[in-house]
Amino acid sequence: MNNAVDPTTPVIALHGLTKRYGIGDAEHTVLDGVDLTIKKGEFIAIMGPSGCGKTTLLNILGLLDRSNGGDYKLNGKSVDSLSSAAHARIRSDQVGFVFQNFNLVPRLNVIENVALPLTYRGVRKTKRLQAASKMLATFHLSEREYYMPWQLSGGQTQRVAIARALVNDPSIVLADEPTGNLDSRSSHVIMEELSDIHKRGNTIIMVTHNPSLTTYASRVITMLDGRIDTDTKDPRAPINQIDTTKRRLDSHSEPTKTEEKAKKVSKKSTKTKSKSTRKGTKK
């Protein structure tokens, strides 16, 4: 992972990204020249009306979809020309997905679901389950390890899904309306979890319809008709400057305190993370 070596390299750099669907008369431009730079440790909320291309952008960032034009650099490397097998490898190594409808595999129990991404990294079953168990413990779900997905509440299910997204230690976490199917109480629990993992140094990109949730984010981007309409931060501005108007909506904590905490924690976890990544590369 390049960002561990060179912290100034942005995790994601998009230049003039375009995406079109359909052919001829039915052609429809979903993304129309998106320029975006995301640095390590940012928590980005993408807002916008339906059909503005948020989810498409997220899918392209997660390499589930390909752009028709423009340039996408992930950790400083262009990924457009790579094969689909290489894309799968990048998804396996560097991307964690959290979905609106959770998308746990219904046949598998909680711990197997969390261990699933490690399967595609060739981790042996015992080690896989150990890692999954450890990850579930950080989400206080240890007693639920052998539950089946349908036996969980919505909030629990989404926490399992987040645990699964994090188990392979990704450099970006992509969340597509993670609270879209949850009540407001569970939503806030999930958002607390997300902001928690953000504080541990993870890069999170979240699509949401709910303006109140943007308060958890360090940067808010609104999209309109396939373009970035507003960005709370110029890409060149310092990371921790947060739009204070949005802060008011956060009912849980004092804005300044959390901010400071976040700084400290993220510094700490950056150190630990770079250690762990070095370990990872040794393997």
Partner: protein, 411 residues
């Protein structure tokens, strides 16, 4: 690409287990196909082995003279046994036996006369028995293993007989029946020897000696107004390389003694077994083709179920892809699932096939099914091919699914 074979196998077992009934029924299709192929191959292999064994038995220096004109060696009708002509006048006579004795390099000549008529002892009259009248020379040619007593010879009484082990059991309820008597067409014979079980119902003499009573040619002639009706003459040359010479001399002599009539057939070596083994091969090939149809149907069953499974698990495919599975991983996952079903069906079919084969050979047939690694390899190979062939299309279809579309699916 990471192959993850072990993971895929775990996964396949897991997913097949979650649909036990469906998996079982699909596997059954392959099981039946493989079972029938195994059974056919094992039984025809067993039958063919008996035929090829006779060639080895002949030892390369035995020729057989049969009545009837010489037919092209490849015709299936050649296997029609002389026994079916038992009531037709044979063109072979005792004179021919004497003629052959005069041919140089002949070590032994034995005429075979199958006597029609039942064998009886008290109220026991086994139906499958045969009475063969011959000379002591037959022992020189065939070299029967004697369990007890002796083979017929020139010094013994004409009313003596050597019986096959099974006939002895059928007649007297024991296989040590020396000195006991039985009737052939009302005439009493004394047992002077018992053969060991041969278990060779198909041989170049066309007599199942396990069920036969061997009597002297003179006794046999007495049932036929003193005239020998020979079904076959066995000729043994002194050495293997002398046999062709013996055969051509016999042909020339027969041409003279039978007034130029081509009414005898001289067979040796593979000519004896070839028609028979070809006959079995033809039957086996036809039956295998029929069994292959059932296997094909089984394969279609696999494809059908795999397509259903892929459709059902579209969303799972999407999830797996989002979590880092490549197209190759998905292809393998489904391919291994179909392979697990077909190979599972193959193994159970192989076992079931031999169970059927043994049941059949014990109850209806007189020979054992053949065990060979070729049959195991063929059944395993065929089931693997079926699994791959019919699993590949669903697997590729699964792997080609667009992850975004797949994730959007609800069920």
């Amino acid at each position: 690409m990471r192959l993850l074979l072990l993971n895929h196998i775990e996964n396949a077992v897991e997913s097949l287990r979650s649909n036990r009934t469906r998996t079982g029924l699909t596997t059954l299709g392959v099981t039946i196909g493989i079972a029938s192929i195994t059974m056919i191959l094992a039984l025809s292999g067993g039958a063919t082995k008996i035929v090829t064994n006779q060639v080895e038995e002949l030892g390369g220096n035995i020729a057989v003279v049969r009545p009837g004109e010489t037919k092209p060696p490849n015709q299936i009708e050649n296997i029609t046994s002389p026994q079916s002509n038992a009531y037709a006048t044979s063109t072979l006579t005792e004179r021919d036996v004497d003629t052959i004795r005069g041919v140089p390099n002949v070590q032994a000549v034995a005429p075979l006369m199958v006597v029609s008529g039942s064998v009886r002892s008290g109220d026991q009259s086994p139906a499958a028995s045969t009475v063969v009248a011959t000379t002591p020379d037959l022992q020189t040619i065939v070299n029967f293993p004697i369990r007890d007593g002796q083979f017929i010879d020139t010094t013994t009484n004409i009313d003596t007989a050597v019986v096959g082990s099974q006939l002895s059991v059928d007649l007297f309820g024991t296989d040590s029946s020396i000195g006991k008597t039985f009737q052939i067409r009302g005439k009493t014979f004394t047992v002077i020897g018992i053969l060991k079980p041969l278990n060779k119902p198909i041989n170049y003499n066309n007599v199942d000696f396990d069920h036969a009573a061997i009597i002297n040619l003179e006794s046999g002639k007495s049932f036929n107004q003193g005239i020998a009706q020979l079904q076959q003459i066995d000729v043994k040359a002194t050495e293997t390389d002398k046999l062709p010479g013996v055969i051509s001399t016999m042909r020339q002599t027969f041409d003279k003694t039978h007034n130029g009539e081509a009414d005898t057939t001289i067979l040796s070596g593979e000519d004896l077994s070839r028609p028979t083994s070809q006959y079995f091969y033809a039957i086996a090939a036809t039956m295998t083709a029929v069994a292959a149809i059932s296997l094909f149907v089984g394969g279609i069953g696999i494809m059908n179920i795999m397509l259903v499974s892929v459709a059902e698990r579209t969303r799972e495919i999407g999830i797996r892809k989002a979590l880092g599975a490549s197209n190759g991983h998905i292809t393998f996952q489904f391919l291994i699932e179909s392979l697990a079903m077909s190979i599972g069906g193959g193994i159970s079919g192989y076992i079931l096939g031999y169970l059927f084969a043994f049941t059949l050979s014990r109850s209806l047939l007189t020979f054992d099914p053949l065990f060979s690694w070729e049959i195991a390899a063929v059944t395993l190979g065929v089931s693997a091919v079926v699994g791959t062939l019919f699993g590949l299309y669903p697997a590729i279809r699964a792997s080609r699914k667009d992850p975004i579309e797949a994730l959007r699916q609800y069920h």
